[in-house]
Every structure is written in structure tokens, then in C-alpha cells.
Amino acid sequence: MDTTTVKPILPTLANLYRPLAPFAYAFLRLSAGAILIPHGVQELLFRGSAPAGRYLLAWGLKDPLEGAWALALLEAIGGAMLALGLLTRPVALVLAAEMAWAATVHLKFGWTWTTAEYPVLMLALCVAVFFRGGGRYSLDHRIGREF
């Protein structure tokens, strides 16, 4: 963030983090995207799509397997695009919708790290990325065109 309006209490320490401060937002975006990639990859390569398929079936979808594949692609490719900042806002919006859905599905199992809490954390990150877009350190910014 901007270190110009806030005075550091320990200037020596400020020298350490001042060069890093401009990257804070990009670091958030990168972390949120990268953490999703293994989910999609696992489902695509190791047929881990069964759990998502069950939820989709319970949710009343006619062809849960197709939906599960779509989610897997979304997490693998969407996660990578979020990390790189490519088509950032549309991708963040779609992922936010997925996470909102995942949170409601898991809410009936409780509020812990293995139930609704984690999708809600991801939801907050995706909404935040939608709010701000790719930012300075993104492919969107490099390309110079973005949604």
C-alpha cells in the first residue's frame, strides 16, 4: 500500500518492507489463484471429480459429471489466470460464484476449516480481486486491455 502517508515508527524496519509494499495486492491475487490449481489438476488427472459430482447431483443437476469437469477446468485454468492476472475480473467473478456455491453446500456440515470456512475465505479473496482487477503487476496491465 502507500507508505507515503503513514510514518514508520521504526525507520530501519520500514526499509525492509517498503520495497515489498507495492507487491502486497499482487501477492494476494497470486496466492488465491495458485492455491486453487492443485484442486483442478487433481480432479482432471486423478478422477477426483466424484465429490463435486455428488454435491452437484444432490443439488439437482441432471448431468453432475459434466458439471464436475467444468468446475475442475475452472479451478485449474481459472486459478492460473487469477494468479497471472489474465482476464482478471471475469475470472474472479466466476470463481466467486463457485465459492459462494461451495460455501452454501458445505454450510450444512458446519463452520470449520474442512467445511464452510475455507470457501468463504476464497470467496472474500475472489470478490476482492474482482473489486480491484489485475492491478499493476498483471498480464491484463501488461496487455493494456481488460474487462
Partner: protein
């Protein structure tokens, strides 16, 4: 105009009409993650300090990490989660709070959850890793907009 809003260049937008909306939303982004993360961490700290959770983790996870004496470390963990989350939420002493949380969450990731694997459904380490990375971002960036640090004008 705020720094975050100024970053949005209408001439770069495929739908330039959205610039006004984006400029209104962008300054909220960084604070949204700071507050949400803190609110998600808070119940864990509360349970440890006020619902006997310190005794549970002293007997299990703290013993697993192997630090002595377990109960003192359990209280340190509970206090870090509870007070660290409150400080992060309001953005007061954001960087020291974020630093303490990074150390805690990284330790949980690598020393407590590691054996369970990556995935969250199997109590894996991705959740604490993501929380650690988010806190690391606030160690880099500080409280930012809508924080007490910013309001006070002095920060660590």
C-alpha cells in the same frame, strides 16, 4: 482520487463505462481481505482462550510440534490467534500482528497439518498455507486504507 482508483485507466477498459464502478470498488479490495481473514481467524482464538481449547491443543498439536512447556505455548497460540485477529481486523499494529500470525500459521502448515496432505477436506495444509500467505501480504503492505494505522498516521 485514491491510489487504487487512479490505477484504473478507462482507456484500457474494454467497457470504459465500467471505470466509475471499478474506481468505487477498488479501494475496498485490500481492506475486505484483511477484515474477512481476521473474522475467520477470530473464532479459533476465542475457542482456545475461553472454551478450554488451550488444553486440547496442549495435549495434541502442541505436543506434536514438540515445544516445552506445552500449556504455555498453547496460551501463546490462543492469544496470537485471538488478539492478532482483532488487531488485523481493525488494522492496528498491522505488520507486527501479521508477522506473529505468519509465524503461527506457517508452523501449523509445516509441523501440524503436513502429514494430512494438501487438500482441505482431509484437514490438509492448504488452508493454513493460504492464511499464512494472506497474512504475509499484510506484513508487506501494512494496514492500508480503512485501518487504524492509517488513521493514526504512525505504524510499525
Amino acid at each position: 482520487m485514491s491510489e487504487e482508483s487512479a490505477e484504473i485507466d478507462p482507456s484500457h477498459l474494454i467497457v470504459p463505462g465500467l471505470a466509475g464502478l471499478y474506481r468505487r470498488l477498488a479501494p475496498l479490495s485490500y481492506a475486505l481481505v484483511r477484515v474477512s481473514t481476521a473474522v475467520l481467524l477470530l473464532p479459533g482464538g476465542y475457542e482456545k482462550l475461553f472454551k478450554g481449547g488451550v488444553y486440547r491443543i496442549a495435549a495434541n498439536n502442541i505436543a506434536k510440534v514438540g515445544v516445552e512447556p506445552p500449556l504455555a505455548w498453547a496460551w501463546a497460540v490462543g492469544c496470537t490467534e485471538f488478539f492478532g485477529a482483532i488487531l488485523l481486523a481493525i488494522g492496528l499494529w498491522t505488520r507486527p500482528a501479521a508477522f506473529a500470525l505468519v509465524v503461527l500459521l506457517a508452523t501449523i502448515t509445516f509441523r501440524v497439518r503436513w502429514d494430512a496432505g494438501y487438500f482441505w477436506k482431509a484437514t490438509g495444509w492448504e488452508v493454513t498455507l493460504l492464511l499464512a500467505l494472506v497474512c504475509l501480504a499484510y506484513l508487506f503492505g501494512g494496514g492500508g486504507r480503512y485501518s487504524l494505522d492509517r488513521r493514526i498516521g504512525r505504524e510499525f
